[in-house]
Symmetry: C2
Subunit: 350 residues, 2 copies
């Protein structure tokens, strides 16, 4: 994870992924308890996007995530709808990566003081996200904790299920020869903001100036809410020919390794990333290696399908709201993720 | 919510409950989306401890809560096991109040830097809590967000279910003549810490001095983890004679109003609160009114039963781990919660 001399890395921006991994391992090592089967039967899917538990005949998936430091940018320009919507996106997309349909969300708002106007904007964003995902708001928690939080932190937990007859899509059925379809993102979504904010600060960039996309201010472009893939995932999950689903969030293309570590995802048709990505790369002097493992680089969700069903899968995805799904690569023998045109290889998720 | 002149109130300590209520209403007003029944059918239980949704034949309950500013005290004395255990307690007790059995928890740790030793201690506490609750850890989120959080914030979300044949215990069946049983708390649990910390700071109290309970330091006494009521609730929930369950967390005795607003809970046999409560009351010059709506005052969980089944219910609770359950009052005609010996009446939950 080296960068060009003088270039920024995500670790240098304040997020040291290996320190997080070490701390988390220390925690997980001592959590040993397994309840009796009368208290739900956890389903093993190590390293996956969501935890699963069987209750009666249902398999439930639960995932929790926060919007992260994107909220700091929201605070700077006083726009809260987008990050409100992100509470939904960051969570339901992790369910979508298992092929789970969202059944409910609870939100968590930590703040230093409650502001009705800000909360209303967050609510509008939540509503838009829930609508896009087909998901109920089941509750939430609001904590006013000025001694802990500066400004606002937004997070949530989503509960998903598998409609009758559908099994979780873990990626185990991915095989050599499969086609990797990519569905475009709506921008940087909610990842990499600790780095983005540091670059913007250091270079004293004017957030209100036109963004590289040319249609909105830089702030608006960066705040664009996470695209929600629940509907498109729901349209293909559970089908025989659909072998894997992935949400390219934190970790970028490395997320594909979560599906199956013993094949190689050869991404030899990656589309040119939208202008915001080369803009950020130039701003920070970031390497391609850093870019592809920090940002989604224009592709937010991946569907791995049997080559025999490529055209049909694309039609299905188009009908469900993703006419822009395109082949971005294939599955080969080997390990990890490779982007041959960029000379990049990643062997592990983290 | 007035206090004696010079006395502290929870609002004055930095938590203005009405401002929170106002902000939250602004948010909820605009979250209007209701998904089609193919995406889970939300179960109405307004104002209750957890959200519920029906999926297939199962009713699931989801609740989310944080440990709040108790973590600041933990940081001061560098003890993290207790608050780790509280992540479980604050959540599964809200499930218990609906009669739901916990099936899984996800935790959320926000921190300014990941420290493996601290995380290990939190893990030990989590494990102890999960064991006490009979609950799996299904996953979690760790966010290193120094720009948002000072120190550590701990929270989680719990998923619960209703074993075959058991309906949610909403309190609707509570009736005049019922007996109110109280199960003791293990101290202040995880409520009122913004006020507690302010009092300790202002009076420059030595946290390492012996606490009012006389068996441990003041810090240890205050940090004692939330008692977990999952097992006792599970032993009585769903029984015909058990009409209501309540977790006395934030809001203290006001929580009873959540069960049924059109009866009066007459708490005329409230046991003498353990020494930590009169100690805090004296420290802050707090009114009884403030004490009973901020702290659990020695009773952490309530079971409302038909008087015909009082002895049997107590035996059942004793076998499940609560031999210390005692009658603390009864249900009468009227509205709200009354503590006649203290001259107190509360009409609403918030």
């Amino acid at each position: 994870m080296s960068a060009t001399p003088g270039g920024a890395t995500y670790a240098a921006s304040g997020v040291d992924r290996s320190a997080v991994t070490e701390a988390l391992s220390a925690l997980l090592q001592v959590v040993r308890y397994r309840p009796p089967p009368t208290h739900g039967r956890p389903v093993d899917a190590p390293g996956h996007y969501a935890g699963m538990v069987r209750i009666g005949r249902e398999t439930l998936a639960v995932t929790t995530d926060t919007v992260g430091t994107k909220v700091r940018l929201a605070a700077q320009v006083r726009r809260w709808e987008e990050v409100g919507e992100d509470i939904v996106g960051v969570n339901v997309n992790d369910l979508a990566a298992l092929g789970a349909r969202p059944a409910g969300l609870v939100d968590t708002i930590l703040c230093d003081r409650p502001d009705a106007q800000v909360f209303r904007a967050i609510g509008r964003g939540l509503d838009r996200g829930l609508r896009a995902a087909g998901c109920s708001l089941l509750g939430g928690e609001t904590a006013v904790v000025p001694s802990i939080v500066d400004g606002i932190d937004l997070g949530g937990t989503a509960l998903g299920f598998f409609p009758r007859g559908r099994a979780p899509v873990t990626g185990r059925r991915v095989r050599v020869g499969d086609v990797v379809l990519g569905i475009p993102s709506a921008g940087v979504h909610a990842n990499g903001f600790t780095l983005i904010r540091r670059l913007l600060d250091e270079r004293a960039v004017d957030l209100r100036a036109a963004g590289p996309g040319g249609r909105a201010s830089l702030a608006e472009e960066l705040l664009t809410p996470t695209r929600i893939y629940s509907g498109v995932a729901d349209a293909v999950a559970g089908r025989e020919e659909v072998h894997g689903l992935a949400h390219l969030s934190g970790g970028g293309v490395r997320n594909l390794v979560r599906l199956r570590p013993d094949v190689e995802f050869i991404l030899d048709r990656w589309p040119a990333p939208p202008p915001i990505f080369p803009y950020l790369q130039a701003l920070g002097g970031l390497t391609d290696e850093e870019m592809f493992q920090t940002f989604n680089m224009g592709i937010g969700f991946v569907v791995v399908v049997a080559p025999t069903h490529l055209a049909e899968s694309r039609r299905r995805l188009a009908r469900a709201g993703a006419p822009d799904a395109v082949p971005i690569g294939r599955v080969g023998k080997g390990r990890g993720v490779r982007l041959p045109e960029h000379g990049l290889s990643y062997l592990r998720y983290s």
